[in-house]
Amino acid sequence: MDIFLQLTVSGLSTGMIYALAAAGFVVIYKASDVINFAQGDLLLLGTYLIFFAVAQTGLPWSLGVLVTLLLAVAVALAVERLVLRPLVGEPIISMIMVTIGLSSVLRGAINAIWGPNPRAFESFLPAGDIVIGPAVLSTGRVLSIPIALAVLAGLGLFFRYTRDGIAMRAIADDQQAALSMGISIPRVFGVAWGLAAASAAIGGIMLGNIVGVSPNVASIGLRVFPVVILGGLDSIAGAVIGGAIIGLLEVYVGFYVGHGLNLVVPYLVLILVLMVRPYGLFGKEIIERV
């Protein structure tokens, strides 16, 4: 039972990081219909920026987090303005390829600046373990769950109550109607990319603390797809639930089944969902069919 609890916490904490990456993905998709293949690299960017700010520059961690968020948002805004805006209205294949190209550029740049080897990074989340009954859980992992949930809840509130959030929903609903109501689409796209980068950067910061700073972080980017398809491409709540399910599934399968099956199980789920319920658990039931 203690093993089960341990697995559950570790699965949930991984799942919440998936959820943070997936939430950014969902925000971009909702606002601009762009499938962002560079989401994993935005996580990677967050990890290395916090490494830069705290370990290399020596800022206190609170300031370091702030600097990381600001820099990540700045990069995202530049990307949106320079790369994505010229492509508005192009076919899906162009959108997919441009974000793939972006991912390649980001990863190449990060490797060139910080090198391909893992870097030593002292976690600033409280060290030590939390003991619940027979299970011993690392505090960092346990803490990452409420942090992620708070960020995701904030994102949900943003969509519900702020001017930009409502504008974003309007654009997702009907771009032309939103335009005629005086909503600035470029501004909303910019906000979407900024939010996505910020949410991914928080995921990256947590990954840096829990797992360490290394280029492998970007491989999580692909896990975003099972998560968002399961949760529904346009739902933040779906990203949270989907992230939790995929994260848990991975650790359970990895422990109880083994054979490296945990690596492929998210994609089996993905195929299954696409066959049975392509709009996911919480997505809008609008899907183009032929």
Binding site: I96, G101, F225, P226, I271
Partner: protein, 357 residues
């Protein structure tokens, strides 16, 4: 097929010809002479690159049939090439099938697998299909590395050298002829395919699937046929890699491979045979070029040279982005622009005078 200004056909044969104009024939002849002379002049390094380009051309044409001509996005190129490579290799290695026959079997099997993975395309469109093929890629990749009994897992499979008339076929010089012939054959097949009813149906599905269905194109059949035809050539490219390298490793067929091939057809030009070749050449030669540059500056700027491997990755991304932003129709269109310029030279419109177009 585009109509050219100032060209008049007086016979049906010339109207229907693939390359009816004298200038086109001359260019083709120049290209043929170059291809024939090249292996006798080039070093084995360049010959190896040429072979890689030829193989990539076959794969890129295959992918372009699906993505560029039929509009079905696939991120599973690496998986299909893997199926081709492993089938061809294992048939020859374990069952002693002659290499020619096993390559053919590999193509057929890849076409069948492609059709199977194409089934979701009947329900899913656009990005959903892209994500489905991404999952297929990951699942096949997992199978390659974990189905140890058949694929040898992460170990490499070493194949016997293919021979024809007692000649070792996988020396760079001997393989060159086979690779070039295969690439030319593939290009010819594809060029003719898109002059036929089936090819036109592919393009109709890409442009407007509902309209295509209204005018009598069977979407179900056409999409599956596109997946099958495309995968056939992709499998061929995979099998060629297996026999050329004499060794099969799973690292050659990852998601990254899919991305590289997509980059080829984006940079070359979607829906263009010429573009498939140009893109395959550019994307294959780009890393070699950067590596050579690195060697050149090794002594003068070792710091910069050590950064080049990552620079290479960044440049790859930048090339994709620049093409998408500035010339979405790729190298094929650029080449067309050059041709158009000389077609009416020296009486070209100056820039600014033809704004109305």
């Amino acid at each position: 097929m585009s109509m050219e200004c100032g060209v008049f056909h007086t016979r049906y044969e010339s109207d229907m010809g693939l390359r009816p104009r004298p200038a086109q024939r001359i260019r083709l002849a120049v290209l043929a002479v170059f291809v024939l002379v090249f292996p006798f002049l080039a070093s084995s390094y360049w010959l190896d690159l040429a072979n890689q380009v030829a193989i990539a051309t076959v794969g890129a044409i295959g992918l372009n049939i699906l993505v560029g001509y039929t509009g079905q996005i696939s991120l599973g190129q690496g998986a299909f090439m893997a199926i081709g490579a492993y089938t061809a290799g294992l048939l020859t290695l374990n069952l002693g099938v002659p290499w020619g026959a096993s390559v053919f079997c590999a193509c057929i099997l890849t076409a069948v697998a492609g059709t199977f993975f194409g089934l979701p395309s009947l329900r899913l469109k656009g990005l959903y299909l892209a994500i489905a093929t991404l999952a297929a890629q990951e699942i096949v990749e997992w199978g390659m590395t974990h189905w140890t009994a058949v694929t040898g897992g992460t170990e490499a499979i070493v194949l016997p050298a293919p021979r024809i008339f007692g000649l070792r076929l996988n020396s760079t010089f001997n393989f060159y002829w086979l690779a070039v012939l295969t690439a030319a054959g593939t290009a010819l097949f594809a060029a003719n395919l898109f002059r036929s009813r089936i090819g036109r149906a592919f393009e109709a599905v890409r442009d407007q699937d509902i309209a295509a269905s209204v005018i009598g194109v069977d979407l179900f059949r056409t999409k599956l046929l596109a997946f099958a035809t495309s995968s056939f050539f992709v499998g061929l490219a995979g099998a060629m890699i297996a026999f050329y390298r004499n060794i099969i490793t799973w690292e050659r067929f990852t998601l990254n491979t899919s991305i590289v091939y997509l980059a080829m057809i984006i940079v070359g030009g979607l829906g263009s045979i010429r573009g498939s070749f140009l893109g395959a050449a550019l994307i294959t030669l780009l890393p070699a070029l950067i590596t050579n540059m690195g060697r050149a500056i090794q002594d003068t700027a070792p710091q910069a040279a050590s950064l080049l491997p990552y620079g290479q990755q960044a440049v790859f991304g930048i090339v994709i982005i620049l093409f998408l932003v500035f010339e979405p129709r790729g190298l094929s269109k650029l080449w067309g622009n050059v041709k158009d310029y000389f077609h009416v030279w020296p009486f070209a419109y100056r820039r600014g005078e033809n704004r109305a177009n």
